[in-house]
Amino acid sequence: MRKQVSIGRTVAWVLLFILLIVTLFPFYWMLRTAFSDNTQLPGHPNSLLPVETTLGAFKRVLGLSSIEEAQAQGGSGAAVNFWLYLRNSLVVATITTVCQVFFSAMAAYAFARLRWPGRDKVFAVFLAALMVPPIFTTLPNFVLIKNLGLLNSFAGIILPGAFMTPFAIFFLRQFFLGINRELEEAAMIDGAGHRRIFFGMIIPLSAAPIATLAILTYINSWNDYFWPLLVGQQENVRVLTVALGVFRSQTPQGGPDWAGLMAATLIAALPMIILFLAFAKRITNSIGFSGIK
């Protein structure tokens, strides 16, 4: 399929270039706005560079400027504490990811490598759960968490996702199935139990897929909005996504604090952008697998 330089090919490159710009522009605009002075923004809607470059918006969002200062710059003056929300997001995403990946790996091992009666039927039931739309289980789960007295607690936010997701088990099972059985048998002859095989052999051999799953789980958990919105409204457990929604509804209606809002979104998105830059190749390559299998 080697083609010489042709009109078609040039057009294609131009299209691809436009596509990349459309993809990246909103990120740039977020950055440009976050570094702008909010009171000057409306006068320069099409300035490509930040308007009156300032760190004011970040200070406002992180609670580093006084209420008067914040109001003078178009903020609502309401106290926002993004450090706290950042911590909460870190706690929720980290615990969810560690528990979910670990327990799912254990279950995937049982489904892939151990023989026990009814195994395939149980696995089919787990898979069937992928069909149930989240909203359907969310309502009763909310009732359950409420009855357990766990509303507005980290436990309430984390528990439903901590043990497993059908997808995580399915994803890891695929890899575990591919591990050479002779290795396992050799280990068994040497007297290794399932526990030693799992920790000493399966996990190290599957480090790459486990890491991929962990990254994807972390991103999903970090970005989740609906569940933390329902069970984690209070300040002490509010995660960044929920905080952004609150911050948006707090900005004054007349001339919204766009710079502050963009500074806040940037802070909320930054950890994921960094994670992505660090693992772009791994994440990108996993997409084909995760969707199709």
Partner: protein
């Protein structure tokens, strides 16, 4: 057995039990304050006569159609571009980037860019002589706008799925087509697209199931407005359950949504089975 214990516990408590309980709640009147009261099919009867429910369903379908249509066409186009021009991992990473930031973040950035007065998109439109559009404030534009935002977020992800599918088409098929003197355009319609069908069906179903459950973007930008124009089914269920504490009714609507998605999945299975004739 110890290996499967934690996952099973989580599965039973947070998947199986709530599924059964959700089905039960849909036949009750339940306000979260007192025990659920069984009321037979009353919720379903109410749903049939609830114009807001039908509006929500209609708005959701409108969203799904626009979202899926636009996204699929763009994704196939992008995947073809990447496949024919560059296998660069950087290009792939860039188009995937929007998918990795939270819906809430995406919604807020576009909310800002699409602002009627100072949004940059309206500035661009001004340059080509188009009057400012109230993307979120105009009931005709609200749903297409929300759909467009989500297309921006998801098209790269979908394109990568299609791209993975393109790579499974054996090279000899193309070589044969070239030998036969097929034009590029013809090859695409006669060979690439048909061979891509299994992947496309899968992509369509996954995105359709996902887009029926649109919530975050609406919750952050329009909150159902203007005048119910974006009150999608997920958002309506949320409102009923958590602002009116009408849990029984909300559960009934969730069950109907579940049924709709199950039908979509069944249709998918049919279509998938039909693929066997494609690549003999």
């Amino acid at each position: 057995m110890i290996f499967i214990a934690p996952a099973t516990l989580g599965f039973v408590v947070f998947y199986i039990w709530p599924t059964l309980r959700g089905a039960y709640l849909s036949f009750t009147e339940y306000s979260l304050l007192s025990a659920p009261k069984f009321n037979g099919l009353a919720n379903y009867d109410r749903m049939i006569h609830d114009s807001f429910f039908w509006n929500a369903l209609g708005v959701t379908v409108e969203y799904v159609v626009i979202n899926i249509g636009l996204q699929t066409v763009l994704a196939v186009g992008i995947a073809m571009l990447m496949y024919r021009l560059t296998k660069s991992i950087t290009v792939r990473a860039i188009i995937l980037a929007p998918y990795l930031v939270a819906n809430v973040v995406v919604a807020l950035v576009w909310y800002w860019m699409l602002d009627v007065q100072v949004g940059v998109v309206n500035t661009f439109l001004g340059w080509v002589g188009i009057d400012p559009v109230a993307f979120f404030g105009d009931s005709h534009w609200a749903i297409p706008t929300v759909a467009g935002i989500n297309v921006w977020r998801h098209m790269g992800y979908t394109a990568l799925l299609v791209f993975a599918g393109l790579q499974t088409i054996p090279a000899y098929v193309y070589e044969a087509a070239e030998v036969d003197g097929s034009t590029e355009w013809k090859t695409f319609w006669r060979i690439t697209l048909p061979l891509l069908r299994p992947v496309l069906v899968m992509v369509l179903v996954v995105t359709m199931i996902g887009s029926f459950q649109i919530f975050d973007t609406v919750a952050v930008t329009t909150q159902g407005g203007p005048i119910n124009a974006t009150r999608v089914i997920y958002y309506y269920i949320y409102e009923r359950a958590f602002t009116r504490f009408d849990f029984g009714y909300a559960s009934a609507m969730a069950l109907v949504l579940f049924a709709i998605l199950a039908v979509v999945s069944l249709v998918q299975l049919r279509l998938l089975r039909a693929r066997e004739s494609d690549l003999a």
